[in-house]
Symmetry: C2
Subunit: 108 residues, 2 copies
């Protein structure tokens, strides 16, 4: 079974995490995962980019520590590393998720 490298929480870098979340496509992925869309193959997200670009974005998220990727056959099950992020940077992910939802809403 193939496995993928995941950083441990004490190696999370704010620099890397913010750069990862600065990209709209990667923020879209994280938001979907937060909305309960765990356990979906990468390509089933229907992202508006090609296959290799999709691979690239998921890897950036994994290497930043934001998501966990586990092989299931030829597919990959993705999930948010909510607890690990909370232990290293408490409140960061929830705040960014809430801001992302507010950002896509019509301005009041």
């Amino acid at each position: 079974m193939r496995t993928l490298e995941h950083p441990s929480p004490e190696n999370f870098r704010l620099d890397t995490i913010l750069s990862a979340l600065a990209d709209p496509i990667r923020r879209m992925i994280v938001c979907r995962l937060a909305d309960g869309q765990h356990k979906q193959a990468c390509l089933s997200f229907g992202l508006p980019v090609g296959k290799s670009t999709s691979t690239h974005h998921f890897r950036v998220l994994r290497e930043a520590g934001l998501i966990e990727q586990r092989y299931q056959g030829t597919a990959i099950l993705n999930s948010l590393r909510t607890a690990d992020l909370e232990s290293r940077f408490p409140g960061l992910l929830p705040a960014i998720l809430a801001s992302a939802r507010r950002d896509s809403e019509p301005v009041v």
Copy 2:
């Protein structure tokens, strides 16, 4: 008196804010301002970059809505737009500031 353009809170974009804060130098500026170093000239921050690069970073922060810049003679007084940020993206700035402090600490 010279004045500078500042976006209003309803025009703040999460994209722009996260990109701005992804840069370590700009995060350094924001952290210093949060630590009470308001009302200081740009160059007095002693950033490890040249003059024109410094101008560039401060402008990125201003155009993202993160700081306010007001001329005072030939110098510029900088301050964090804490209230405006809180109204548009509640909790975002405090979470990032806390994470930034935690990031620079030795790993426990």
